[in-house]
């Protein structure tokens, strides 16, 4: 069943079609809200709110964009509103001492590949919220720049810039894995601050 048929079925009152829609798009919503909200215990409530909004506004959907883009927009706005409402709009500055400490917690000498991947993922979760958003939409959900612009309201140039900076930031944070001297330097800075 394609999206247009699915929407028509839901608008005619077929709730099984709505369950089908939720199953089809729940991964997309979980990825966006999960990356933004970052709290497993609150994730289900936010996702539920997203799908309730989808149901309530489905009649207003006009096929101007893909259904996935439209649902992603609702997921993004709901997550941002949630963070603002509960004052959880914390941004991690990668230059601060906590981020530096996170960097030095890693044992460079004895890492396993799996640990390293996990570590990189943790660093992604520590990125500032705007970076996390564009990275998730572009790399994970494979939305185009234009679609990300529609979803977040950020101009295309900003999206590209955030993507570039996010990668640069990650490379910077993980530099010590390539270069042992950088690790020593970071440890020294960390010790000075501590």
């Amino acid at each position: 069943m394609n999206d247009t048929e699915l929407i028509n079925q839901i608008l005619e009152g077929n709730m099984n079609a709505f369950t089908f829609l939720v199953n089809r798009y729940q991964k997309l919503v979980v990825h966006i809200t999960g990356r933004l909200v970052q709290r497993q215990e609150e994730l289900e409530d936010v996702c539920q709110e997203v799908f309730i909004k989808v149901y309530q506004n489905l009649g207003k959907y006009r096929n101007e964009c893909k259904l996935s883009t439209w649902i992603a927009t609702i997921a993004y706005n709901t997550s941002i509103n949630y963070l603002r409402k509960f004052k959880k709009f914390e941004e991690v500055n990668p230059e601060d001492s906590v981020a530096l400490r996170n960097l030095t917690d890693f044992r460079n000498e004895n890492y396993e590949t799996a640990d390293l991947k996990r570590y990189v993922r943790e660093q992604i979760e520590l990125l500032p919220i705007q970076y996390r958003t564009v990275v998730t939409l572009f790399h994970l959900e494979e939305f185009s720049y234009q679609e990300i612009e529609q979803i977040t309201g950020m101009p295309e140039g900003t999206v590209k810039s955030y993507l570039f900076r996010a990668k640069a930031l990650l490379r910077e944070k993980l530099k010590h894995i390539v270069d042992d001297n950088s690790l020593k330097l970071v440890k020294e800075i960390s010790n000075e601050k501590g």
Partner: protein, 116 residues
């Protein structure tokens, strides 16, 4: 680790799904929640329509009696004014029974069904 290996790993990690999961049966729970919300709206609407119809009929009856038998109408109104506490209590009680029947009980039962 070489620089290009690190770049590859970053690219791979950026495309990897975060470790957040929803519990089994999420779609069914959302659908049940939507059905309950829609039912609540319909029930509330029904209650308001019924209340409006009852008050409309009373107004119509008052209008008819005003034309047919003014004396009876004024006697009745005087009775209501004189016993406004009892009349008010009766009206509120009947209204609450209607509200409970049309909205509250249905909501409670649907919640209970979902919990079970």
């Amino acid at each position: 680790m070489r620089k290009d290996e690190l770049t590859d790993m970053i690219e791979q990690s950026l495309g990897a799904a975060p470790e957040f999961r929803l519990q089994e049966g999420f779609a069914q729970r959302v659908t049940a929640s939507v059905i309950r919300q829609e039912q609540w709206k319909t029930d509330l609407q029904e209650y308001f329509y019924l209340t409006a119809i009852v008050f409309g009929l009373i107004a119509l009856l008052t209008g008819v009696y005003y034309l047919v038998d003014k004396d009876l109408l004024f006697r009745t109104l005087n009775f209501f004014v004189a016993n406004w506490v009892v009349v008010g209590f009766l009206v509120l009680t009947l209204n609450f029974i209607l509200f409970a029947d049309k909205v509250l009980l249905r909501l409670l039962f649907s919640r209970r069904r979902q919990t079970n």
